[in-house]
Each structure stands twice: as structure tokens, then as C-alpha cells.
């Protein structure tokens, strides 16, 4: 069934969005899909959580947005990582890796 965004750790949603945008800019729907598929259909982010988060990250200066054309030749708003966003992604990823490592050691008694 997977996790809903409300069940995620605080800060995790931001990291998911940043990761989804790491390779190329994308619009909201694509970000949703990308998170769904890349997490092996574990994480499902609803629109009600995604859009406020996108706007919040935009205000923080981690994302920038511009209007462009989507695959179906429709107008869509494309988000991309800014330089700050990229730095932030690196930082958060390192943090998560350490957290995940620590959790795994504890839980599996390595």
C-alpha cells in the first residue's frame, strides 16, 4: 500500500521532492509520479501535501519555477533545483544516510 505523505518523517517530503528534481526539471504531476515509481510504489504524495511543499521550497529559494509545455502539449509549471537547492539536497541526503545507517545498525543489531 505504501506511505502517505502525512506518515513520513518531518523533512522527508522536502528531500523526496529535491531528489525527484535532481536530474531534470519537472511539473507537479511528474514529481508525484516519479516519487511513486522511484520509491518502488512505497511513497505516495497527495496533491494536498505536494503543492504547499513546492511553494514553500520555492519561497525558501531551493526551487525555481517557470511555465512550459508538457508532454501532451499542455501548459504546465516546471520546477527545477536552484544552486541552493542542490547544496541543500547534498546536505540532507548525507543526513539521511547517517540516520538510516544508524537505524539499521540499531534495528538489525549489526
Amino acid at each position: 500500500m505504501g506511505f502517505k505523505s502525512g506518515q513520513l518523517q518531518p523533512g522527508a517530503l522536502d528531500l523526496l521532492i529535491l531528489t525527484a528534481l535532481e536530474d531534470s526539471p519537472a511539473h507537479g504531476y511528474a514529481i508525484m509520479e516519479s516519487i511513486w515509481s522511484r520509491s518502488g510504489e512505497l511513497f505516495r504524495v497527495e496533491e494536498g501535501a505536494l503543492y504547499p511543499a513546492l511553494h514553500r521550497l520555492q519561497i525558501k529559494g531551493w526551487l525555481a519555477a517557470e511555465w512550459g509545455l508538457s508532454e501532451a502539449n499542455r501548459k504546465a509549471k516546471y520546477y527545477r533545483l536552484t544552486a541552493t537547492g542542490r547544496r541543500q539536497l547534498a546536505r540532507e541526503r548525507a543526513g539521511w544516510d547517517r540516520l538510516a545507517l544508524g537505524m539499521r545498525r540499531l534495528l538489525q543489531g549489526e
Binding site: G28, G48, P52, H55, S70
Partner: protein, 904 residues
Amino acid sequence: MNWYSQRLRALFHRDELDRELEDEIAAHLALKEHHLHAEGAPDPTRTARLHFGNPQAWRESTREAWTFSALENLWRDILFGLRLLRKDKLFTAVVLLTLTLGIGANASIFGLMNGLLWRTLPVREPESLVRIVLTNLPPTERSWSAGREVKLKERRQLTFPLYETLSRRQGLFNGIFGLAGNGFDAVESAGTPYRVRTSRVTGNYFHVLGVEPLLGRLLVPSDDVPGGPPGGWPAVISDGLWDKLFGRGPHALGAKLTVERIPFTVVGVAPPSFHGVQPGVDVELWMPLSAMEAIYPNFHWRTDRASWMLQTMARLRPGVTLAQAQAEFGGWARPLLDETRDPRLSGKDLEYHLAMRLEARTAEAGDSWLTLSYGRTLWILLAVVGAILLIAATNVANLLLARAAARRQEIAVRLAIGASAGRIRRQLLVESALLALGGMAGGVLFAKWMTAALQAAIAGSQSPVRLDTSLDFTVLGFLCLVLLVVALAAGWAPAWSASRVTMQDALRQRSATASAFRLRGALIVLQTALSFTLLGGACLMISSLRSLFRESTGFDAAQTVLLTPDLFNAGVSRDHQDRAYRNLLTEARRLHAVESASWTMTPPLSGGLSAFSVEVPGKSDLPPMQRLLFWHQVSDGYFSTLGIPLRAGSDFPSEGSLRRDMCIVSESAARRFFGSPQDAVGRRIKPGNLDWLQIVGVAADSKYQHIREAAPPTIYTPYWLESASPGMTLAVRYRGDQAPVLAALQKLFQTEAGRLPFVQVRTVAGSLSELVRTERLLTVLLAAFSAFALLISATGIAGLLAWSVQQRRKEIGIRLAMGAQPALIRRQIQTRGLLLAALGITLGALTSYWLRNAMDTLLFRVTSAAPWIWLTAAAVILAAALAATALPAWRASRLDPVDTLRLE
């Protein structure tokens, strides 16, 4: 785009962002539909929307990301609050007025006190300044303040020899300086005469204080030498005098002035913030101390070891604490005092002299004699306005409580349609804050006005007092404290009561609990108690003031005017002074409207008079204190001019047959030494260092210092035979109107001196009202404040009863329907009101009893124990309470049972 521009865009281009968001949502839905369609979902459009959830909800939460939502909510609360306050005009007006008065009065009094007592001097490192005083003064030393003998705890002046010896001691201080005088001198600049407040200071005054000149230079030690520096006497003027005399022009430097007919050269201007070291005493001109030798050639202060004339201050060396200085001083005092002792001292007097202690006291706020005269008055006023603030705050609390009760339904409805409790609390808080800020703003304006009025009222016309009352951190801190008191006192009750509102309660309009009545009742009891105390205080002050005005001064001088001409500065040299005085008296007596005229050394009720011990044959067993006589020089005709009856013997004869050994004593002196006025005539006494005098007459008692004093035993000696002292006063008894007599006398002065001298004009009645100025001020303020307090208490009682009748109208209606007498209902309601007032009076009586000693020091011929005062105050309060209860009681008794029962 950075954070701020994003948000500003959000604030100002809300529509644009909204549109963009709509587009984004539409695009999202379209994409989703497209994908679902591709996957072959049955109804892509519907599924897309279904999965989407409630777009309105996340539209809102997205919006919040780019708005100042907290600020916007606050702004909305403020607008809503303002709208509510505007709607409830009477409530708002009463609260604002109450707070304005309470806060304003406090800010004003505190500002004055701060200016007088606490504001640090505008000099370098004021905290290391100390003033040097003598303590443990000889028990034989007597001094009077406002007509009452007071025991001085410290002497603020040293003799010049003591100062000089002290300043040679090194180690403790980084400089020590002295100053003398703070009176008005006659200054002439470019032919125009002025009265200017001057200070004579030692040469290092400005240097030790660390004051920098605004223009030119300040005084230096080489200015302060006997005979003056080579270039003549220098003077430093204040910024104000620079403006007055020279219009702030640079030509002030080097300008010539004469001060008491001695030439001076202006060498510099002091900075605008600097007015000397005595708060309230606005010095306009500083001259070297040595210049006093030129101005008063007969005053040998430099060597006089008995003249305590130099106020002394010093700056502690860095690292030396006040306690260290104090400790070291302990060892210095005796040798210093011994070294500079008056050689005439012997026996016990010498012992007393050597037993005095030198002490250093902190002087960061300066050292003003005004603290002696007005400090206590200001403290009393602060207590009074503090009570007013408490009354104002409790009144606001009461009104807010009443309002909260009335708004229970509104709040309940808002809770019911989904407002959070926090939101409601915040709304109520914003409303209170708006009221407090409004009251504060009004208070600051009111304080400004009141301060100006008080400064004028405290000082009178003779010696203006100018205290720096501008805002500083102390005043700001105090204002914050006041705001806190108001917020706490006014805010806790409504908040407490609001927190108990539940939706069901309020919607069902359940009547308020008895506890709310008790709470508001307690506030009213407190108000009534304070009103009672203030009212009693006002009654005491009024009674005291009436006694002061009724008290016999010993003069019958309704038709007598007293003129003190400054002949010297108008051109009469000291050698010609006696002749001028003689001529003037002769001329004045010739004037048509003049009945009699006389010169006198001390005008009635003017304050100053010297005293000495006399030897009386057969009375040598009386202690010196009992043989003290006040000394007064007058010319013949004095007693008839001032309307002092002679009890025995006769007045001084006219100048021709005057003998050097004649004197007249007052009735109280005659009774003390000789038993009766008749027995005193012809007897001899020997005052101090003078020769034996023979008593030729006994005059009725009269008062020279203050109306409060007991008739002072006085000795009058004939004026003509002593060398004339400057500043004699011409007393003139006239017929008809005063104005033509004054004009004629002014003309005489002008003819005699060559030009019109400065003349101080007084009357006995005028001096009396000047003397009781502070009492009058206190009386007026107390009366006004107690009227205000009474009004608040009465309206409080009326409001509370009206509310309680409103709450109980069902019960009252039932009782009326059952046949209860309306009169009984009325009586019950009124009893409730009177009970509150009675409780308040009891509490107030306890407070007043606790304050009785502080009150008594202010009173004259009435004490705070006078029962009729308190009975009057109690009667007034009860009458006000009765009047306040009348309307609600009448309303209650007129309730229509049918109406009230139908309400539910």
C-alpha cells in the same frame, strides 16, 4: 527571487498568484486525466478529481506558504477590535478617559521626580561624582523649614578654609570643586538690564565635571585667583542666555557684561544640556568664585572660618569606591576640622565642632536644595496618583468584566461556528491592547500638559523651577511598569471570566454565577476604599489650608505694600546708599496717598531672619535656646505701617531723638523674660556681641518666616544707627488704590537712582499665598483626584447593581408576582450597594490609619485624627453610593413580572 520579494509579491499581487495557482491546479488535473485515460480508467475526469481531494483546502494551505498569515490575522483582529470599540462608544470613551488620567498623572509626577532626584547629570562619568557634606551636626544648631524647626541631618556647605585644606589632601579624588550661590543677579548687557541666575564656581569646576564648551572656552583654575586674571573677570554663559543676549551670534565671545556693576567678559558658552549641578536650578551664568570678592567687598569668605558657604563636590579616583572614600574620610575629618576651626569656638561648642563627620555621598544626579522643599510633596503626589492608577485600572477591569458578560453570547456563537478558543482569546487580548495603547497615548499627552502646569505651580513666579522631564530610560521603564500594572489589573479578571465561558452555558444564557458578582464587588470595595482615603486626605488638606489662611500673621496690612528696590544696580553706590534711603523715606511720606512709610530689613513672611542669644539679667539660668531672639532692623513708623499693635511703651522716636541703645521686643519675648509687656518696658538686655539695650516698647507678635511658625520672640533695633545693609524694603501704608501709589513710588526710585531700578513688589497677603503654594497645589490635586475617584466608585456601584438586577430579573419578577412590595425590593437592592460602600469605607479607614503620620506632617491646626473629617468623608461616600443605587433599585421595583417571565 528572495524571501521578502516573494512575500511582498504575495501581499500586493494576490490576484496574480491566485490565478497562477488556479492554472497550476487545472494543468495538474488535465495531466492526471490524460494519464488515467491512457491507462484506460473508466471515468478519468471523475477519478482525477476524486483523487485530488478537496482543492479548496490545499489551495488555502498553499496560499499560507506565501503570505504573512500571522500578521494578516493580527491586522484583521485589530480592524475587528477597532470596529467593536467604535460601536461601543461610551465604553471606549470611559475606558480611554480613565486610563488617560491614571497613566498621565503617574507619568507626569514620575517625570518630575526623575528630573529632580534620579536623572544623571549631563557630564562625563556622573557615577563617580560625590558631594561632600558634614554630618553629626552640633545639637545647638537650629534651622527652620517652612516655619517649623527641623533637625538638619547634614550640612551641604563647607567653609572656604575647610574646602581649601580638603582639596590639598590627595589620594581619594580626581579633583574637588566648590560652588556658591544660585540666586539672581543684576546683569547688564549693551545697556539693557536682566535678572540672571548665576553661580560662582571654583576654577576647576568645568574641568572636574568634564564639560566641553559649545563655544569659546570654559572657566579654568587661572581665572579663579584673588583680584581676577590679567584680562579682567571672565564669565561663561548658558546656551539659553547666549540666545537671549546675543541671538546665538559669535560676537558673544569677548562681549562685555556687568554683573552687580562689576565688569565681566564672556569667554565661552556652556553646552545646551548643561544647567549646573542643581537639578531644577537653571544656572545661566558662571563666574569664578574669586569674583565674589569684587561683588561683596565686605564678605571675607576666603578667610572666614564660620561662614558655611561653599557647596562641595568631587570626583572619585578610578577604582576608589564610595565605601572606601567614606572609610578614609572618617579619619580625615577631625584634623581637618581642627585645622580650620573658628578661633572663637571654645568649650562645648568646640567639642561639637570637632565631633562633626565628613561624608561623601553619591551625586550622579546632582545635588539640589529643591529636593528638600519639593521631594516630599512629590512623593506624596506619587502615592496619590498611584492610588488613582489603581482605581483607573480596577475600573477598566470592571467595565471589561461587564462587557465580557454582555458578550458571552457573541463569543459562544463564534465558538460554535468554529473559531478556536485561542483565536477568541487573541481577539480579546488585541482589544485590551488597543485600549491600553490608546490610554497610553492619551496619558503621555496629558502628562505633558500636567507637567507644564505642575512646574509652573510648584515654582511660582519668584524662582522658576525647570526640571528636565524629557523621556529617558528611567521614565520609559516606569511607563512600561505602569502599562504592566494596568494590563495585569485590568486584564486578569476578564480573561479569567472569559475562560469560563462554555458554549452551552452562553447559548442557554445561563445567568452569571454569584462569583462574578463577588469579583466585581471586591473591585468596587477596593475603589471605594481608595476614594475614602483620598477624600479624607482632601478634606484634611482643605481644612488645613483654611486654617493657614485664617491664621493671624500679626500684621494688619491690607493697605500696605512692600517694595524692595535694587538701588545699587540702578546706580546708587554703597557710600550713598544711606542717604538714598533717607531721601526716599522722606519723599515717600510726603506723597498724598501715603499714610505712613518705613524701611525694614525683612519683609513679613519672607522666610529669612537671623537670630542670636541674648543675656537677660536674672535669667541666666535659662538655656541658650530659650534665650534665642530673632533680630530685625526697622526704621521708625514700622509698627503702624504694618499694623502691628504696640502692647506697651512706644515706637522708636524719629531719627533726631533716636538712641543707639534702644530696642523693642515682641510680646512673646517680653512674656518669656519679664512676665508681661508692661514689666518689660525700661528693662535691659544684651544681644550676642552687641552692647546693652534698653527696651522702649513691646510690639504684638508677628510672623516673619512662615505662617506655620509659632510667634517668634523677636527683637527690633533701630535701623538708622547701624550701617545700612543692601536690599532694604520700603513698607508703605496708603489710602485708596494701590496702582497710583506704586507708580508714584517707582518715580521716586527713578529720580533718586538716576534710572528705574528693578523693584520687587510684595504684599503680606501675596506672600502668604506664595508660602502656601505647595499646600494649595496638593489640596487642588487631592480634591480633583478624590472627586474623580468618587465618581468612578459611584458609577461602579451603579453599574454593578444594574447588572445584578438584570441577571436576577426573573427572580425579582417572580417575587413581585407573588406580591412582594416594590419598596422592599428597592430597599434590598440599595442595602447591597450601601454594604459595598460600607466595606470600602472600613478598608479605607484602615489604610488612612496606616498613613496617618505621613499626613500629619503636612497639616496645620488639624490632625488626621479629627473625627469630623472622616465622618464627612464617610457621609459623602455613603450619599454617593445611595444616589448610585437609586436608579437600579427603582428599575428593579418597577419590573413587570409578566415581561420578565416571558423572556425565558
